[in-house]
Amino acid sequence: MSYDTSTIDQETQDAISVDQAKGDFSFPENHKFDAGVGLSSDTVDYISNVKDDPDWVREFRHKGLKTFLDKPMPTNWATKDLENIDFDKIRYYLSDGQKPKRSWDEVPPEVLETFERLGVPEQERAFLAGVEAQYDSEAAYSNVKEELEKDGVIFVNSTEGLKEHEEIFRPWFGKVIPTGDNKFSALNSAVFSGGSFIYIPKGLKVKHPLQAYFRINSENFGQFERTLIIADEGSEVMYMEGCTAPKFETATLHSAVVELVAMKDAKIQYITVQNWSSNVFNLVTKRGMAHEDAEIRWIDCNIGSRLTMKYPGVVMKGERARGEVISIALANDGQHQDTGAKMIHAADNTTSNVISKSISVGEGRSTYRGQVHIPKNLKGCKNNTECDALLINSHSKTDTYPAITVRGNQHVTQHEASVSQVSEEMLFYMEQRGIPEAAAMSLAVNGFINELAQEFPMEYSVELKRLVELEMEGSVG
């Protein structure tokens, strides 16, 4: 039995296209503000002027630009494909100059139609406590349920956050991820626009998730949202983000920075379901800081994009803080999912857990890259890392590159990784019972990720399984 699938039949091609079509549409551009093509200090000033930035933000941007220009591409360890990003051909800021609307009725018709087609308003009615919908550089819609607002929850875009709530925003902004953390966090610092600012007051447990949806509509556009979530003592919040872009002829860049701060006893869950079109460079820096007894969980699902480089991290700064990364990646033809986790233990008795499952289909490549760091003079730190990779076809590829540093004898770390295939016996067993090979393969893959898919809220988990099924169609010839 051979799994060579160099030829994909029309039927399965159509099945895949159905899914692609969901996000693959765009409207004519209607931008009042356009920073033009390429990046210079004029671009940065243009963005600052349009957004009417306070001086400290303008300075922050210029410092970001300088750091970005000074830093080399990390191709000493990362893929050479990064060199194909042409920073001079990207458009760094596009907006229609409108403030985010609090009612879908006020949102421009084509933007409304975009998000209707992506099902955002429907999900909001069904189960969300608040939604922000970003269209290119700025949020088109932003709303949070009234009762939450009364309780003191702040859920606004980053521009409003830094202006209206400077006293909470500024002390943490750029503190979890410094500008110079990497080349792309520096780039984001220079040209950031959009993204969410969330503050959850002390002791408040937000029952329903807050959601942000990031949509790229314009060709050659770079989206650089900046999100900061602060959960004050004893509070809890779940935040979900979704992303799509239409398939353009040229490459698109998405480079976000997401910072989470969980104060004492707080709990933040951050859920991503990314389904970028296959020419998006998705280079995202995500890190959380967990204080005493706090917990930060990143639940990250990466499907789509040309290249994703994303290693959500947790700095466990307070005693007994917990960090967790649960990651599912699916790399199809022409895609490279370079994902992982970064766990920095900075206090006694902190624990971290990383579970990563990746699936490589066709000529897809999935990579796990991880770092676990336990410095000296600490005790009782624990890390568990598990990476499982599933290879579907003979040209599928997978890599694992963890780095674990442990100082001292009062800690426990373990790392395990495995690579496997869907066994011929398993497929044979199912085929014998009348399940066609393709369906059997799909079942096997869903079984592989099932345990992790359950970590997502039900609505997302169903969507996720459906996406995986669609991606798997045509993988078996």
Binding site: A389, L391, N393, T400, I404, T405, V406, H415, A417, V419
Partner: protein, 390 residues
């Protein structure tokens, strides 16, 4: 430099190697193969190649056809064989520059050629002794086994005294021909002022089994690069290591399991027990080439942290480009659990002795896999010598 007549091809090779050494850049920590590494240890300022090698070969009675002699003698008598096999490949694990330096200055060591179907029962033993202060030694080990041949070698590295700071840049190439069995055991016990670089390359042909074991107990700093390339179906490679650093010793180990043919398997087990302020780096990579289907490759690195000031860095990596492969890697860092100590104390063994016993047993697990009694007991003795100093 050679006292005997040096073949022209070799002189040319050495000249080119010297030029290569000079043109290659010094490694930096930015290079992945030196990540977490200690670049400062690569400063050889004031060191000069040793004038006199201090190597003795213990050669048992050998079956007919076996060639076993010091490197220089082989260069004279079996120039053709050496030309064919001597440092055929550029190392890929970070020490290209130092391999070139070795090539340009190689002196002393073992050349061993076992023809088809010949079995050498008794291990061949080589003793290296670093002597002189600020001297660099460049010993070479080249072992070639023909079809279905069998041989084992014990390579010991020590120092003439405890004071002289030496540097050893050793290269060993193990070439296991079809269906052959090649076992190699290196015991590194040089003094604590010396530094040690070992570059190993093992090539495993169809149906062959190669086992390479390295013990590190000596040296203030040691870097081991070990590459195993599986070229033919049914090839099997065991890569084993046992390290027991203490004091401020630092061991930096890089491994590469390269599966270039289908139906091959490799098994790596590295055991480090870290005492006092010791530091280790383990970086391993399994690479399965596109057509190397039905590969089984395993990689395990275990760190036993005996003190609160020890540091272990692990980077167990995989790169899989084929399917129908079974690969796994695991890395753990932990200390001895209270239960284990309690179990032994309940049997009347005092705590410090219990800890030592457990650490000893931990280290010995890699030795058990060598599968050759003489080599195993030599390795055990070296482990015990180290534990006696702790």
């Amino acid at each position: 430099m050679m006292t005997m007549t040096t073949p022209a091809w070799f002189a040319e090779l050495q000249e080119a190697a010297q030029a290569e050494y000079e043109s290659l850049p010094m490694p930096t920590r930015k290079i992945e193969s030196w990540r977490f590494g200690n670049i400062k240890q690569l400063d050889f300022e004031g060191f000069t190649p040793e004038d006199q090698t201090n190597i003795t070969l213990s050669i048992p009675d050998l079956p007919e056809g076996v060639i076993c002699m010091p490197f220089e003698e082989a260069l004279e008598k079996h120039s053709d064989l050496l030309q064919q096999y001597f440092m055929r490949n550029t190392p890929r694990l970070g020490s290209e520059k130092f391999a070139a330096l070795h090539k340009a200055n190689v002196k002393g060591g073992l050349f061993l050629y076992v023809p088809d179907d010949v079995v050498v029962e008794t291990p061949i033993e080589v003793n290296h002794s670093l002597s002189g202060s600020n001297k660099i030694s460049f010993p070479h080990t080249l072992i070639i086994t023909g079809k279905n041949a069998e041989v084992s070698v014990l390579d010991r590295f020590g120092s003439a005294n405890n004071e002289d700071a030496g540097l050893c840049i050793a290269v060993n190439d193990l070439i296991a021909g079809e269906g052959s069995r090649l076992t190699y055991c290196a015991l590194q016990e040089v003094n604590l002022t010396s530094r040690f670089i070992q570059i190993n390359e093992t090539t495993v042909e169809r149906g062959a089994t190669a086992k390479a074991f390295t013990l590190n107990t000596g040296a203030q700093w040691a870097r081991n690069e070990s590459l195993s390339k599986l070229n033919g179906e049914g090839g099997h490679s065991d890569m084993l290591s046992c390290s027991i650093p203490s004091g401020t010793q630092q061991f930096d180990q890089r491994t590469f399991q390269h599966h270039a043919a289908p139906h091959t398997n490799s098994d790596l087990l590295y055991k480090n027990s870290l005492h006092e302020n010791a530091k280790t780096v383990f970086s391993g990579l399994i690479l399965v080439d596109e057509d190397a289907h039905y590969t089984d490759a395993y990689q395990t690195c275990r760190n036993l942290m005996m003190n609160d000031t020890a540091e272990a860095n692990s980077m167990p990596g995989l790169e899989i480009n084929a399917d129908q492969v079974k690969c796994s890697h695991g890395s753990t860092s932990a200390t001895i659990s209270d239960e284990e100590i309690f179990y032994l104390r309940a049997r009347g063994i005092p705590p410090h002795k219990a800890r030592r016993l457990i650490a000893l047993g931990f280290s010995a697990q890699a030795v058990d896999k060598i599968g050759n009694e003489v080599l195993e007991s030599a390795a055990f003795e070296a482990i015990e010598r180290k534990f006696a100093t702790l």
